[in-house]
Each structure stands twice: as structure tokens, then as C-alpha cells.
Subunit: 139 residues, 2 copies
DNA sequence: ATAATTGCAAAAGCTTTGCATGGCC
DNA sequence: GGCCATGCAAAGCTTTTGCAATTAT
């Protein structure tokens, strides 16, 4: 997302445009690959040494509420954040904390079709995310 | 899983059969629905008031290592545990912490077939879990 | 001007750890 | 008896909170 778009977005949500907020979003986007709060803070501190831990958490929470950022969690570690808004799934390394995005529109269509036919009693589906667990064979 | 099976399992893994271990596994099984450590401790304390929190966590971790119990985590809350070993997926309530199991062999077959054809470069799949997010329409 | 946001530090969970005591094999 | 497992309490980590000072609009 471009800087101008981000400013507009914040403005539309009645959120003040502060250097901290821009820095947090920049960090999530530039770091990529589902950074932890710790990594985000580390990244921001390079250019913005006085940012407070609490500010980063609060800002991330606001972005999650507004849908600018998503939370990603595996079965083993701390909260991680993701600024990729396009629908996607995740590849989880069984042995490490590595998480990669997986895009596949055919798959999404198959799932959509499947669940349209085979409705779940007592449950209205909003979204489906695959956790694909396995091992990366490259380094 | 029956008590005798559990005893055999522990024996085979060279784990001592202790009342605490039996109680933890019993709690996870009887509570069902992905209890938190807190709920497990609460349940066990009824019959076993002196059990230590640390013991429960250590025991759960051992069971997870040995594959007797799985960890389940949503994007929002603490670690939860699951003694259902049959392959299944999860329905996550978008508004609460409710998590229900979802079994569907047809779905598993479709996914298996799909990923057999459409291999992911650099990744060897071991398991696929669906996080189905939405709303329960019963109470 | 004023209301929202920040930094700071303390507090609040949840989970882990160290060690002496106790219990299983 | 030997060694593993437990209980207890303290410590560790991540995340949240309260509040005075600061900043965006």
C-alpha cells in the first residue's frame, strides 16, 4: 500500500496520522513474512529509537480492528502480523517458525463450491483458511 | 481412549504412570472442546486438589510431544488442547472463543487429490488443517 | 483549543523453570 | 534404591494498562 493511500485510509477512519502509525505499518509491510511484535519494534527503532512498546501493540491492535493488518498464529509461537490483504493461505514449517503465504484461486473456488453444496448445519461460513503444514525443501 | 490403553501407551514411551498424568489426560478427554490449561487444572482440582500448575503444563507438553494431545490455537486466545487424534478441522466462532470439531472425509479426499496434482514447489505437505471461521447459528 | 495519541513504567496474564521432596518401577 | 516426576514458588515473556505529557487537527 502506498503512503498516500495509507494516509487516506487513516483519515477515513478518523485516526490521526502520526509518525508512529506510519512507521508500524511500514514495518509490517517491509518486513514481510509475518513479523512478530518484537521484530516490528526492532525495525522501527532504527529510525525512531524512542517509540514505546505499548504504542506498537496499541497501533497493531487498531490496524487489526480496522482490517489493515491480520493476525497470524501457529500452534507454537507468539502473535504475528500480516499486512497482505488479498485472500491467501499459509504454509507452516513443521520444524521452525517459518510461515509463507500461499495463493491459489483455483483452490479457493473448489472450497467455495464444495461448501456451497455441503452446508454445515448450525454454522454460517465467513472465511476459510488453510494451514498447510510440512517442510520447505529449499533453503 | 481407554484407561488400559493409556497405561500401555505411557509404558511404551517409558513414561511413569502417575495419577497426575492419568488425570490430565482424563481431563482433556472428558472436558472435550479444546479446553485451556486453566479449565484442565480446574477440572483436575476437584478430585486432586494439590496438583501443581507446573505439573499440568509439563504433562501436557509431554503428551503433545508424544502425539497424544494436540495444541489448538486461534488468532485471539491462549493455548488450547485437544485429545481427538482422528483427522479433523475446526470451526471457529468469529465472535467468541468457541471452537468445534469438523469431520469430513470427502473434503479430505478432495484436498488430497488437489494437492497431489498441484504440487507446491519447495514444499512437502505433511498435513492440512482448515480453519473455518464464521458464526454458529444455534445456541 | 482540545481531544487523541504517545512514552513510560508498572501490572497482568500465561507459561516455564529450578530445586528439594516424594513416588513409581 | 535409584531416578523420574511432582509441588511449590519464583521468574520469564509477551502483551496490556494507567496516566501525565505531547501532538495532530
Amino acid at each position: 500500500m502506498k503512503l498516500e493511500k495509507i494516509r487516506d485510509f487513516l483519515k477515513n477512519e478518523n485516526l490521526k496520522i502520526t509518525p508512529q502509525r506510519l512507521a508500524v505499518l511500514e514495518a509490517v509491510i517491509k518486513l514481510g513474512n509475518h513479523p512478530t511484535a518484537e521484530k516490528i519494534i526492532e525495525f522501527i527503532k532504527k529510525n525512531h529509537p524512542n517509540i514505546a512498546v505499548g504504542t506498537v501493540y496499541k497501533t497493531l491492535e487498531i490496524f487489526v480492528d480496522k482490517g489493515l493488518v491480520n493476525k497470524v498464529k501457529s500452534d507454537k509461537d507468539v502473535m504475528r502480523y500480516d499486512a497482505v490483504l488479498v485472500k491467501h493461505h499459509h504454509l507452516y514449517c513443521a520444524k521452525s517458525d517459518r510461515i509463507e503465504d500461499y495463493y491459489d484461486d483455483d483452490l479457493n473456488k473448489i472450497l467455495e463450491k464444495y461448501f456451497k453444496k455441503k452446508e454445515i448445519k448450525y454454522f454460517k461460513i465467513e472465511d476459510i483458511k488453510l494451514q498447510i503444514i510440512g517442510n520447505f525443501t529449499n533453503k
